[in-house]
Symmetry: C2
Subunit: 121 residues, 2 copies
Protein backbone atom coordinates (compact mmCIF):
# COMPACT_ATOMS: atom_id res chain seq x y z
CA UNK A 1 0.00 0.00 0.00
CA UNK A 2 1.30 3.42 -0.90
CA UNK A 3 2.02 5.50 2.21
CA UNK A 4 0.06 8.72 2.62
CA UNK A 5 3.02 10.36 4.32
CA UNK A 6 5.87 9.39 6.64
CA UNK A 7 3.73 10.22 9.69
CA UNK A 8 3.51 7.10 11.86
CA UNK A 9 -0.07 7.95 12.89
CA UNK A 10 -1.28 8.42 9.31
CA UNK A 11 0.27 5.12 8.23
CA UNK A 12 -1.11 3.29 11.25
CA UNK A 13 -4.58 4.67 10.56
CA UNK A 14 -4.41 3.28 7.03
CA UNK A 15 -4.22 -0.19 8.59
CA UNK A 16 -6.38 0.17 11.69
CA UNK A 17 -8.24 3.48 11.42
CA UNK A 18 -11.81 2.40 10.92
CA UNK A 19 -14.82 1.55 13.02
CA UNK A 20 -14.31 -2.21 12.97
CA UNK A 21 -10.69 -3.34 12.84
CA UNK A 22 -9.93 -2.58 16.48
CA UNK A 23 -13.14 -4.33 17.53
CA UNK A 24 -11.97 -7.46 15.72
CA UNK A 25 -8.66 -7.10 17.60
CA UNK A 26 -10.65 -6.74 20.83
CA UNK A 27 -12.62 -9.91 20.13
CA UNK A 28 -9.53 -11.91 19.15
CA UNK A 29 -7.91 -10.79 22.43
CA UNK A 30 -10.85 -12.19 24.35
CA UNK A 31 -10.63 -15.53 22.63
CA UNK A 32 -13.16 -15.27 19.82
CA UNK A 33 -11.17 -16.73 16.98
CA UNK A 34 -13.59 -18.08 14.40
CA UNK A 35 -15.65 -16.28 11.82
CA UNK A 36 -18.85 -17.26 13.59
CA UNK A 37 -17.65 -16.07 16.99
CA UNK A 38 -16.41 -12.77 15.53
CA UNK A 39 -19.69 -12.21 13.68
CA UNK A 40 -21.51 -12.65 16.98
CA UNK A 41 -20.16 -9.44 18.58
CA UNK A 42 -22.73 -7.19 20.29
CA UNK A 43 -22.08 -4.46 17.71
CA UNK A 44 -23.49 -6.71 14.98
CA UNK A 45 -20.75 -6.34 12.39
CA UNK A 46 -22.21 -6.93 8.91
CA UNK A 47 -20.77 -10.19 7.58
CA UNK A 48 -19.51 -8.66 4.34
CA UNK A 49 -17.57 -6.09 6.37
CA UNK A 50 -16.20 -8.76 8.69
CA UNK A 51 -14.99 -10.82 5.72
CA UNK A 52 -13.39 -7.72 4.17
CA UNK A 53 -11.67 -6.70 7.40
CA UNK A 54 -10.29 -10.19 8.04
CA UNK A 55 -8.88 -10.24 4.52
CA UNK A 56 -7.29 -6.82 4.93
CA UNK A 57 -5.93 -7.61 8.37
CA UNK A 58 -4.33 -10.77 7.07
CA UNK A 59 -2.85 -8.89 4.10
CA UNK A 60 -1.38 -6.20 6.33
CA UNK A 61 0.07 -8.73 8.74
CA UNK A 62 -2.20 -8.13 11.73
CA UNK A 63 -3.67 -11.63 11.85
CA UNK A 64 -2.98 -15.15 10.63
CA UNK A 65 -5.61 -17.58 9.44
CA UNK A 66 -5.18 -21.32 9.87
CA UNK A 67 -7.67 -23.91 8.69
CA UNK A 68 -9.08 -25.99 11.54
CA UNK A 69 -11.61 -27.90 9.46
CA UNK A 70 -11.84 -29.18 5.86
CA UNK A 71 -15.04 -29.64 3.81
CA UNK A 72 -16.12 -27.02 4.26
CA UNK A 73 -12.87 -25.30 5.14
CA UNK A 74 -13.04 -23.13 8.26
CA UNK A 75 -10.34 -20.86 9.60
CA UNK A 76 -9.18 -19.94 13.07
CA UNK A 77 -7.75 -16.44 13.32
CA UNK A 78 -4.98 -15.28 15.62
CA UNK A 79 -3.17 -12.01 16.13
CA UNK A 80 0.41 -11.69 14.98
CA UNK A 81 2.84 -9.74 17.16
CA UNK A 82 2.08 -6.69 15.02
CA UNK A 83 -1.66 -7.14 15.55
CA UNK A 84 -1.20 -7.76 19.23
CA UNK A 85 0.69 -4.47 19.44
CA UNK A 86 -2.62 -2.73 18.81
CA UNK A 87 -3.59 -3.63 22.37
CA UNK A 88 -2.05 -0.35 23.54
CA UNK A 89 -4.14 1.57 21.02
CA UNK A 90 -7.25 -0.29 22.12
CA UNK A 91 -6.48 0.56 25.75
CA UNK A 92 -6.10 4.26 24.96
CA UNK A 93 -9.32 4.22 22.94
CA UNK A 94 -11.21 2.45 25.75
CA UNK A 95 -9.95 4.83 28.43
CA UNK A 96 -10.96 7.82 26.35
CA UNK A 97 -14.38 6.34 25.55
CA UNK A 98 -15.16 5.58 29.16
CA UNK A 99 -13.99 9.00 30.28
CA UNK A 100 -15.83 11.11 27.73
CA UNK A 101 -18.83 9.12 26.53
CA UNK A 102 -21.59 8.76 29.12
CA UNK A 103 -23.02 5.29 29.60
CA UNK A 104 -20.02 3.31 28.42
CA UNK A 105 -18.42 0.60 30.51
CA UNK A 106 -15.01 0.80 32.14
CA UNK A 107 -12.12 -0.86 30.35
CA UNK A 108 -12.74 -4.61 30.51
CA UNK A 109 -10.42 -6.81 32.57
CA UNK A 110 -8.98 -8.72 29.62
CA UNK A 111 -7.59 -5.46 28.24
CA UNK A 112 -6.13 -4.41 31.58
CA UNK A 113 -4.48 -7.72 32.30
CA UNK A 114 -3.15 -8.66 28.92
CA UNK A 115 0.56 -8.04 28.54
CA UNK A 116 0.19 -7.35 24.85
CA UNK A 117 3.58 -8.56 23.77
CA UNK A 118 3.54 -12.21 24.69
CA UNK A 119 3.41 -14.65 21.80
CA UNK A 120 0.13 -14.94 20.00
CA UNK A 121 -1.80 -18.10 20.86
CA UNK B 1 -25.99 9.16 17.95
CA UNK B 2 -27.27 5.71 18.88
CA UNK B 3 -24.63 3.68 20.66
CA UNK B 4 -23.53 0.44 19.00
CA UNK B 5 -22.97 -1.16 22.39
CA UNK B 6 -21.80 -0.16 25.86
CA UNK B 7 -18.20 -0.98 24.93
CA UNK B 8 -16.11 2.15 25.47
CA UNK B 9 -13.88 1.29 22.49
CA UNK B 10 -16.80 0.78 20.11
CA UNK B 11 -18.37 4.09 21.15
CA UNK B 12 -15.06 5.93 20.91
CA UNK B 13 -14.48 4.53 17.42
CA UNK B 14 -17.87 5.89 16.34
CA UNK B 15 -16.49 9.37 17.04
CA UNK B 16 -12.84 9.03 16.11
CA UNK B 17 -12.41 5.71 14.29
CA UNK B 18 -11.63 6.77 10.75
CA UNK B 19 -8.58 7.61 8.67
CA UNK B 20 -8.85 11.38 9.11
CA UNK B 21 -10.25 12.53 12.44
CA UNK B 22 -7.08 11.80 14.44
CA UNK B 23 -4.99 13.55 11.79
CA UNK B 24 -7.13 16.67 12.23
CA UNK B 25 -6.52 16.34 15.99
CA UNK B 26 -2.79 15.99 15.27
CA UNK B 27 -2.78 19.14 13.15
CA UNK B 28 -4.78 21.14 15.69
CA UNK B 29 -2.30 20.07 18.37
CA UNK B 30 0.54 21.46 16.29
CA UNK B 31 -1.17 24.78 15.86
CA UNK B 32 -2.90 24.50 12.51
CA UNK B 33 -6.26 25.96 13.36
CA UNK B 34 -7.84 27.27 10.17
CA UNK B 35 -9.53 25.44 7.35
CA UNK B 36 -6.74 26.42 4.96
CA UNK B 37 -3.97 25.26 7.30
CA UNK B 38 -5.76 21.97 7.97
CA UNK B 39 -6.35 21.37 4.25
CA UNK B 40 -2.62 21.80 3.70
CA UNK B 41 -1.57 18.63 5.57
CA UNK B 42 0.94 16.37 3.77
CA UNK B 43 -1.68 13.63 3.50
CA UNK B 44 -3.75 15.83 1.20
CA UNK B 45 -7.14 15.47 2.86
CA UNK B 46 -9.89 16.04 0.26
CA UNK B 47 -11.66 19.30 1.11
CA UNK B 48 -15.13 17.75 1.15
CA UNK B 49 -13.90 15.19 3.70
CA UNK B 50 -12.22 17.90 5.78
CA UNK B 51 -15.44 19.92 5.85
CA UNK B 52 -17.43 16.84 6.83
CA UNK B 53 -15.01 15.84 9.59
CA UNK B 54 -14.91 19.35 11.07
CA UNK B 55 -18.70 19.38 11.15
CA UNK B 56 -18.88 15.97 12.80
CA UNK B 57 -16.12 16.78 15.27
CA UNK B 58 -17.93 19.94 16.31
CA UNK B 59 -21.20 18.05 16.65
CA UNK B 60 -19.62 15.39 18.85
CA UNK B 61 -17.89 17.95 21.04
CA UNK B 62 -14.29 17.35 19.97
CA UNK B 63 -13.69 20.84 18.61
CA UNK B 64 -15.07 24.36 18.79
CA UNK B 65 -15.29 26.76 15.89
CA UNK B 66 -15.04 30.52 16.42
CA UNK B 67 -15.28 33.09 13.65
CA UNK B 68 -12.14 35.20 13.32
CA UNK B 69 -13.21 37.07 10.21
CA UNK B 70 -16.50 38.33 8.73
CA UNK B 71 -17.28 38.76 5.01
CA UNK B 72 -16.48 36.12 4.17
CA UNK B 73 -16.79 34.44 7.53
CA UNK B 74 -13.81 32.27 8.47
CA UNK B 75 -13.49 30.03 11.49
CA UNK B 76 -10.64 29.14 13.80
CA UNK B 77 -10.88 25.65 15.27
CA UNK B 78 -9.71 24.51 18.66
CA UNK B 79 -9.85 21.26 20.57
CA UNK B 80 -12.19 20.95 23.52
CA UNK B 81 -10.99 19.04 26.58
CA UNK B 82 -12.72 15.96 25.14
CA UNK B 83 -10.92 16.39 21.83
CA UNK B 84 -7.62 17.04 23.54
CA UNK B 85 -8.07 13.78 25.41
CA UNK B 86 -7.50 12.01 22.10
CA UNK B 87 -3.82 12.93 22.45
CA UNK B 88 -3.25 9.67 24.31
CA UNK B 89 -4.87 7.71 21.48
CA UNK B 90 -2.75 9.57 18.96
CA UNK B 91 0.37 8.75 20.94
CA UNK B 92 -0.47 5.05 21.06
CA UNK B 93 -1.24 5.05 17.34
CA UNK B 94 2.05 6.83 16.54
CA UNK B 95 4.11 4.48 18.68
CA UNK B 96 2.54 1.47 17.03
CA UNK B 97 3.00 2.92 13.53
CA UNK B 98 6.65 3.71 14.07
CA UNK B 99 7.30 0.30 15.58
CA UNK B 100 5.58 -1.83 12.99
CA UNK B 101 5.50 0.12 9.72
CA UNK B 102 8.90 0.48 8.05
CA UNK B 103 9.83 3.96 6.86
CA UNK B 104 7.66 5.94 9.24
CA UNK B 105 9.03 8.68 11.45
CA UNK B 106 9.37 8.51 15.22
CA UNK B 107 6.66 10.16 17.28
CA UNK B 108 7.00 13.92 16.72
CA UNK B 109 8.10 16.15 19.59
CA UNK B 110 4.83 18.04 19.88
CA UNK B 111 3.07 14.78 20.74
CA UNK B 112 5.69 13.77 23.28
CA UNK B 113 5.79 17.09 25.05
CA UNK B 114 2.14 18.02 25.09
CA UNK B 115 0.48 17.43 28.43
CA UNK B 116 -2.85 16.72 26.79
CA UNK B 117 -5.06 17.97 29.56
CA UNK B 118 -4.22 21.63 29.78
CA UNK B 119 -6.86 24.06 28.60
CA UNK B 120 -7.42 24.29 24.87
CA UNK B 121 -5.89 27.37 23.28
Amino acid sequence: MKKRSSCPAACALDLAGDKWTLLVVRDLLRGRNTYGALADSPEGIPTNILADRLRRMEKSGLIEAKPYQRRPVRYAYSLTEKGRGLLEVLRAVSLWGHRYIPGTNAMPEFLKNDKGLSNPA
